[in-house]
Symmetry: C2
Amino acid sequence: MKIGLAQINSTVGDFPSNAKRIVSAYREALDQGAELVIVPEMALVGYPPRDLVFKSGFVDKCLQALDYLKGEIGAVPLVVGYVDHNEKQGPGKPFRNGAAFLVDGEIRDRIFKTLLPTYDIFDERRYFEPSEQCQPVEWKGRRIGITICEDVWTEDFLHRPLYKRDPVKELMEMDVEFILNLSASPYHLGKGEVRRELLGALAEKSGVPFVYCNSVGGNDQLIFDGGSLVMSSEGVPLMEMPPFDEEVAVAELFEGSPSHSGARSSRKRMHPDEEIFRALVLGVRDYIHKCGFETACIGLSGGIDSALTAAVAVEAIGADNVLGITMPSPYSSRGSVDDSLSLAANLGIRCETVPIAETFEAVRGALAPIFQDLPEDVTEENMQARIRGLYLMSLSNKFNHLLLTTGNKSELAVGYCTIYGDMCGGLAVISDLPKTRVFSVARWLNRDQEIIPWNTIEKPPSAELRPDQKDEDTLPSYEVLDEILEFYVEKQLSPQEIVENHGFEEKTVLWVQRQVDLNEWKRHQAAPGLRVTSKAFGIGRRIPIVQRFGR
Amino acid sequence: MKIGLAQINSTVGDFPSNAKRIVSAYREALDQGAELVIVPEMALVGYPPRDLVFKSGFVDKCLQALDYLKGEIGAVPLVVGYVDHNEKQGPGKPFRNGAAFLVDGEIRDRIFKTLLPTYDIFDERRYFEPSEQCQPVEWKGRRIGITICEDVWTEDFLHRPLYKRDPVKELMEMDVEFILNLSASPYHLGKGEVRRELLGALAEKSGVPFVYCNSVGGNDQLIFDGGSLVMSSEGVPLMEMPPFDEEVAVAELFEGSPSHSGARSSRKRMHPDEEIFRALVLGVRDYIHKCGFETACIGLSGGIDSALTAAVAVEAIGADNVLGITMPSPYSSRGSVDDSLSLAANLGIRCETVPIAETFEAVRGALAPIFQDLPEDVTEENMQARIRGLYLMSLSNKFNHLLLTTGNKSELAVGYCTIYGDMCGGLAVISDLPKTRVFSVARWLNRDQEIIPWNTIEKPPSAELRPDQKDEDTLPSYEVLDEILEFYVEKQLSPQEIVENHGFEEKTVLWVQRQVDLNEWKRHQAAPGLRVTSKAFGIGRRIPIVQRFGR
C-alpha cells in the first residue's frame, strides 16, 4: 500500500490557506501514486492554536474548512488533523484534537487523540477531552491504526510514565496492520534522533510499520522540523523526509513490492550546528512572513551575537530585506564599527551608522539635576543600550522593518542584557543558544569562507558600555557559565547538586542561581525566542517572578 | 466545635517564613479557643508555585517545612495546604496538591486534591496527580470532609460541567458532619459573591456546614482576596472574614452553642470601585515588598491613568516611598504639568520635572540622515514615549525604585500605548481596568475630598504626543470601546456576534478586533498586570502572536 505523506507548513488559524495547501499536497501525493494520504496533526488549524480555540466561531470555522476539504477528496482517502467540538455526553473539556478520515467526498471516520500532553510547552488538557477508546479504521481490507502525536510517546525508555493508557498497544490488540501518526512535534536539538529511536522501538515491538507525518514551520517560539518518516516492521527507516522543508512523498509500506525489498533510508544526519542554523532560519522566515512583514532590521555591535542573528536573517529573507545599524558610543572600539561593516559587506546587506553620543549627553544632561554628583554605574550603561533600542525601534516604526533581537541564552539567563535596550524587538533569534553554541554555529557558518568576520569570533566578548569592559569581568567564563546553566535551567538541579556532583565552585554556582532567579522579571518581558533546546525560556518554562525559593 | 480559620498571606517558595507565619496564626487561633485550625491551600508553599515544583529539592524543602510544622502542633489539629510527591505506584504526574492533618506532633492524615483546574489561570494537570478516592478524617468523634479549592466547585449553576467526580457528594455519602475547604482562589470583581452563592448552595444541599479558608495576598498577576467564611448547614453565612487582609478568627460550627443561635455574618459589601482599589493596593504592596523593593517611581502625565496608579501606590507603600516624575514635551499642555503637581501635592509625594525636548531633538538629529524628508508619523510619537521610558528606567536603576506602569486595559487591548515607552516598568497596576472603570474608581476615590485633581478626571483623555491630540481622534469613545472589548476579549464573541446581537457598528467592531489581534506581540512583552476581571491579559489568556484567525 502506497502512503503519501504531506509534510506541510500550516499557519495558526488560517483555515482557508491551510485547507488549500492540504488540497495541493494531496494532489501532489496522488500524482506520485499514493493510495492513502496523511498530513500532520492539526494541519487544518496550525499548531498550537492555544486559546484561540475558545473564541466563538473558531472551531466552527475549522469544521467549515473540513467540509470544504472533504469535497476535494476522491477515492484516495486523506487523513487530516483538525479540531472538533466534544460531542460526548456528560462533563468534560469542550474540544477534541482530531484526525478525520476523508474519502469520496465524505468524512468516513473521526479519531480523537487519547494522550494529551500537559507539560513543558504543551497544554492540551486545557482544551481537549481525550478519546476513551481506540478504534481501527478499515480500508481496502486493511485495518489501520490512526494515532495523533503523543499517542505513540509511551515507550519505557523515555522515562516518563505519564499515562495509564497505551493507544499503540490497544490498537495492536485489535490487529491493526500498520499505524499512522499525525504529529506536530516541535524541534529541539537531537529531537530527530529521539523520534527515530522511539518509532524504531515501537515498530519492532509491534511488528507493524509506522507512518509518521510531522509538521514543518515556525509558529511563535516553536519550530516544527518535519523529518517525517516511515518505519518498517523491523524498525528500519524505509523513508525519511527532510528536516525544515515542506515535502510530499510516497512510501510503499509492505514487503514484496519492488520499492520495498532492501529499502532503507539513506538520509544523512546534519551537523548539530547546521541543524540549529537551519532551524533558526525557518523560525525567522516564518515569524516574519506569517506576521506580514517583509523586511527586518538588526543592531550590529561588532559582536558575535548580532553577527549570527544577521546571518540567519539573510538566509531567511534575503540580503536585500535586512538592514544593519551600527550605533557607536564613546566607549565603542573602532574595531566594532569596522567588524559590523565587514559583516554587512560579507552578507551583502545595507548598514547605517547612527552615533549615540549626542543623545547620551542630552539624557545625562536632563537627569543631572536629579542625579547630581552620584557616581556613574549600571544606570549609564543601560542608558546607552536603551538609546540604541530607541533608534532601532524608530527605524522599525518608520520603515516597517521587524526588529530582530540579538541576545543569547547565557546573557538572558543571568540578566546580562538591558530590558528596553538590547532586548527590544519582535523576535529573539538566538535567545535559546548558549554563548558557546553561538560560537560553534558561527564557526560552522564560516567553514568554507568568512561570513562572520573572524575578528568578531576571536576577540573577547564585550558589551562596550564602559571603557575597556569585557564580559568576563562580570561573568564566569562562558564555558563554565553555560555548563552551570545547563544544570540549573535545563536539568533543574539545585545549586548543592551542581556543586557536589559536578565540581563547580560554590560561589560561582550561587551567583549564577541568584542572577537567573532575579532576572525572571526581565525574561517575562522578553521577545518570544525561537526554541532549539529542550528547555527554552518562555513557553515551556513558567517560573513566578515573585518567589523566594533558594534565596 | 470551634474552628479556627487563618486567612494568611504566603510567599511562593518561602518555606521558612510561611511555616513561621502558619505557627503564629495557629497559636493566635488557639488563644481564641480553636479546637481545630485550618489554613489555605498551599499555605506552606505559596500559590501558584508553577514550574518551581520541578526544581530539584523544591518539594523536599516543602516536606522539611512540614516536618518542622508538625513539631509545633499540639493537641489541637492543624490542617495545612502543602505540596507532596506522588507516591502512588504506576504512571502519573510527579506531585500532589495536598492537605496535611497535623496533631500531637504527627502527620495523622494526608488528603489530596481531587479536581485539578486546568483552564484560565490554572495549570494543575501540568503538575499534580488527582486523588483517586475521598476519605473522611475522624476527629473527636466527628467525621470531617477535607477538600481543596476546586473540589467544591461542582455546582450546576456554575455552568461548567468539567468533572466526572464530585468530592462533596462522595464525602456526603460517607456521612461527614462538616466540610473544610482550603482554597487559593484568586480575586476578580464579584468573585466573593460567586463564592458565597456556591458555598450557600452546597451547604444547603448537603445539610452540613462548610468552612472555607482562602488565601490573601498578591503573587505576580494574581491577587488572593481572602473573604474566608463559615456557612451554616442552612446556607447562611455564620461568619465572614474581611477581604484583602490577613486575619485569624474562630467560629462555632454547630447549633446549640451560645455563639451559634441566631448567628449570622453582618459583614457589609464593598462598593465595586472600592473593592477594585483595595485589590490593587494589596497587589502593589505585595509585589513591591515580596520582590524586595521599598520604593516606587511613576511617570505622571497629568492624565487619569498615572494619577490612579500613583494613588494606589501611595496607599500601598506610603507617600514617602513614591516618586512622581513629570516629563513635559513641546506638545504637553501647561495643564498637564500643573495637574501632575496638584496630584503630587494631594498625595504628599515628591515630584520631579524632567523635560524631554532636548533629548527628542538629539534623537531626531541622529536619525535625520536616514529619515531625510519623510513626514512625521507615529514614529515620532513613540520616540517621545520611549524617551520618557528611558528617563524613568534611569531613575529606577539609579535609586532602586520599582517603576510602576500606568496603562489601562482599553489601551493595552488596542495597542494605544508604546512598547518600551509608557509600557516600561516592573508591574502594570491598572492594566486590567478598562478606561471607564479607571474613571469610576477615580471618582470613588474622590468621594470625600479631591485626591485625583478634578481637572484630570474631567478633561478629555489625550496622549499629548502631537499638537491638540485627543484619544478619541484615534479610538472609539471609551464607552463604546470598553463594551466591545468586554464582548471580544472577556466573552470571546466573534465580531459578527457583537454586531448582530449587541448592535455595534460593524466598522468599529472590526477595527477593534484587528487592533486587539495585531497587538498581541506588544502584550507578550508587557509587564505583569494585576488581575481584577475574569479575563485579564497575561496569565489566563494565551493567544498566539503568529496567527491569522479572523484576519
